[in-house]
Amino acid sequence: MTMLKLSARNIRASVGRLVLTILAVTAGVGFVTGSFILADSLSDTFSGIFESAASQTDASVQLAGLEFGEDDQTLSDSVVAALEELPETARVTPIVTITDQFTPFVILDAAGEEVKPRGPPILTFSWDGREVESAIALAEGRSPAALDEVVINTEYAVAADVAVGDQVNFLTPDGQQTFTLVGTVDFPVSAGAFFVLFDFESAQTLYGKEGLVDTVELAAAPGVSAEELIAAAERVVPSEAEVINQAEVIEQSLEDFNQFIGIFRNVLLAFAGIALFVSLFIIYNTFAILVNQRIQQIGMLRAIGATGRQIRFSILAEAALVGLIGAVLGLAAGFGVAFLIKAAFQAAGGFPETGNVITTTTVLVAFLVGVGATVLSALGPAFLASRVSPVAAMRNEAGGDRGQHRRIIGGLVCLAVGLVLLGLGLFLGGQQTSVLLIELAVGAILTFVGVALLSVLFAGPIVNFIGRAEVLGTSLLVLGASLLVFMFTVGDGLPDGVVSWVTFPIKVAVSTIAILTGLSILISKSRGSGFGLGGSAAGLEGQLAKRNAGRSPQRTAATATALTIGVALVATVGTVGESLKASFTDSLERGVQADLFIYDEEGQGSFSGDLADRLEGVAGLAELSRFRANELRLADGDVVNMFAYETGTGESVIDLGIVAGSLEGTADNGMLVFVDEAEERGLLVGDSLVVDFPDLQSETLTVVGLFEDNSVLGVPFIIDLDLYEQHISNDDDVFVGAAIEEGTSVESVKAAVVAVTAEFSGVTAQDNEEFLNAQEGQIDGLITLINFMLGFALFTAFLGVVNTIVLSVVERTREIGLLRAVGTTRAQMRAVIRWEAVIVCLFGALVGIVLGVLFAWAAVTAIPDGIISRMALPYETVIFAILVAALAGVVAAALPARRAARLNVLDAISTS
């Protein structure tokens, strides 16, 4: 009881010192609860929609699912009348829609440009004006009723700047057409998609589905059960259709959906785990410092009869209380985190509107994680505290570094085990995904812990090196200048996207500050007197800062570790991403001879073969190769993806990188197989295999070659287009490559090609460079999203830096007082603390980058060459990370530096 009282009082007394630790717990817990809140809210919203849809509809009629090889079928709308006649039905709602993404209805603005959502699709279907709670509601006007009337969702109306009553110009499968906008609707879960709705009869006409229906929704008459309704409906629907029990369907979709949500939550939790891991270091650090500061008190307690266990308990109780406070705040922060993640996804593409749902599980997890994590990380310090000798109470010195040997041995063990686990995870094939992930996660954690423990060994010398004025000045100058150079040469130069508009000015500012500071340090050093931003670094202040940073390597290492982890992860992601881009560019440059690429960039769907037919007539095109995709069934029953192209001309468009066999014989019932796939299935050149085509005809194909370059097509099997056409009547292409005649300009031919593709909604024609940029853009988008998620970890790391500096200023109160007493000015005092923070942060960032690049190297080596073939460093990101870390040091030091400068000299000296 006393110990608990003591713990509580200790917290109250040192609340200032614990604030940042509590914040670190809050950040970690906040991310975890945010993930839960987001996932639960999504699941809640969608269950609501499913359920409210189910409350209106008991059954639905639609075409039965297609077996492999079955031809597409249609459902005649005569079934609607038949269903209406049944006494069991109260309501019969026929619906038609277009599922094919390339024939949507797109609004054209005044300039004739298509108004499209960023990322999500435009959806179009018939609507009978019925509102469904939490799924669809009329916002303004009325529902559509005639062939020239349309309803769109509010977001689309805003984006296209049109209002109810306006005549709106649409691009439709039949060319441009004008509709009257008679109303707008809201879809709470639109996730950024745009909606274009017509009444049923008009939609049939507009979609080219006269006399057809896709789905018929049925509501049972009063007193009729769903089963009775279904039995009755089954008697009147044609054989190609099936009647579905809506409740069962909804249960199934809910299950599917919740499974998806589960994955989504786990991905978020993985990032939350990283942030939490950083918090663990901060908590550990704080308690280690607090124990050190209280060593006399602990010794006294031991002397007067406190057992080691009681001491341990009091520290752990203090940790638990900190964890508890952090958990409560973290729960609150969870809502903010959920909001932020939602906003990020909304900006990146789309995300449904959801409420904020908090469940008991979330609350339990928050407390478990908050208290558990804090107690766990305080274990070490608590254990050390319990071993403080009672004689410590009699001595006046603070506790020194103990257990150096054990720390180094522990570090080596952690590092070794961590690296072995990482190696196993990356290079040992044939493991279960869950085992693999655990290996990688535990391996990475142990490696970080190992490096953190071992960095005591090299923190001193490195910090002494970085801290030298000429080194600091030169590095800042060089790094700042090279960031600018990289931005404008290797990088994208002037900004073009939303993200780069944010980062561009920041990067320019950071590099400018670095250059100016570096210069002023160097000038001050050579003149022997302070000059400009970095003047103090070259003087006595810089000296003192360097000594302080180097004095306790253990402290420096611990402070830097939080930052190291954050920077290492950013560097890993950046390097893997850069390598992916570089490999992709390489293989594209090597493998792609086409000058123009015609494909559906956004929908990734197929488009009518008419397009390629029309292109045949464009002057200046030398070669044209169509690529079509479908499925094959192998002898073992596996249904696999397949590509077909015109052998003979296709090679001039795409180089597959044949590694065994050749292209010879492809046209003669041959087959090309991706090397990895061949390995997996044990296929060799010359093997024959029997495959079924979608028309259920079998063919015996011979493996004529193995290819390794799959960056453009990304399929396991390739066959000849002639063979394809013998079995598959669908003539849609997914990709058309074109080579241009020698001597003609790409621009002019492209203009002619674009004139054709413009008539096919969704299809783009890109030249080589545009194609490359588009592909790289997707990788960049992913990296940005991952970095945003890592941002939480980086923020936590930043808190950690502020935290340790605050604590060490408190600890050095007496020393700071002495410095002030002998004439150090406040500004000088601030500079000492500031440069110390900068040096420590630079150290952390450097170690982080080395680790991150090593991790990335391991990952790149482990990832098959087909995906990443070589390593490339993201210089811009790396340099930017180092400079931001230095700047973070300045910001982190601001508060503690003020405190140090404001210390009352007399009070400071009399503190014992």
Binding site: M3, M300, I304, G305, A306, T307, M394
Partner: protein, 248 residues
């Protein structure tokens, strides 16, 4: 000084206590075979030049540190045979401490600081005794104040009261008045003497100051890790004279 000591009248004793710090080149012989006993109900002062081993002797006798060889006893208990845990329990029940810097817990009130050893042991202690101890401190209602609201003398009285609270076999103090001015020192020493005379406690204290030593019943002189002399019913003058002769 080697006469057999009757243990029942002794609160604590040491037999040929040897303490060596460090190894090889850095070896320091802090105690070179000290044999000494402290009688119940007596106030003993230990004097000697800096580095003579006074603190070491106290730490070892109080069970805070272990001897290199030899034996120390609290009452009839042999300290060298106790586990760390039992040593802690022994300190909790049988030994009190007064530190030079008051070493009070700043976040606990004076009263809570006084009862801390009992609370640590999870016992209520002898309430009448505690009341008596608190009354003797003369703090009145200031016992519910935090240490930083008390004067140095008051804080040290709290520290002495804390040592008395569990009614230990013996109380050790390492220069308990070293941080205090002479008037406050007198006040504390008087308080300690009353604890011995009126409450029947046993106190051993290390001091540099002949005046402080004169409050005790017996003074031991330590030089270079050995007891070189002792004196009963000291006065400041006799102690001062003895110090001068030892200094030669």
């Amino acid at each position: 000084m080697t006469e057999t000591i009757v243990s029942s009248t002794l609160a604590a004793r040491a037999e040929t206590a040897i303490k060596i710090y460090g190894h090889g080149d850095t070896e320091v012989h802090a105690l070179r075979g000290v044999t000494v006993g402290f009688e119940r109900g007596q106030f003993t002062a230990i004097m000697g030049p800096s580095g003579s081993g006074k603190s070491t002797l106290m730490h070892c006798m109080a069970g805070l540190d272990r001897l290199t060889s030899g034996e120390t006893y609290i009452g009839d208990t042999t300290l060298s045979q106790l586990s760390d845990k039992n040593l802690t329990l022994l300190r909790r029940e049988k030994v009190g401490f007064i530190f030079q810097s008051y070493n009070l817990i700043p976040t606990l009130t004076a009263k809570e600081n006084i009862t801390l050893p009992l609370d640590l042991a999870g016992s209520d202690g002898d309430q009448a005794w505690i009341d008596e101890v608190i009354t003797t401190t003369g703090l009145g209602d200031r016992v519910s104040h935090r240490p930083n609201e008390l004067s140095g003398g008051q804080q040290q009285r709290v520290a002495v009261a804390r040592a008395l609270a569990s009614r230990p076999e013996i109380i050790f103090g390492d220069e308990p008045t070293g941080n205090l001015d002479s008037r406050t020192s007198a006040e504390i020493l008087d308080f300690m003497r009353r604890a011995v005379r009126e409450l029947g406690q046993t106190i051993v204290m290390v001091t540099h100051d002949p005046v402080s030593a004169s409050y005790s019943d017996r003074v031991l002189f330590l030089t270079d890790g050995q007891i070189v002399d002792e004196m009963s019913n000291p006065t400041p003058e006799t102690v001062f004279d003895k110090m001068k002769t030892l200094g030669d």
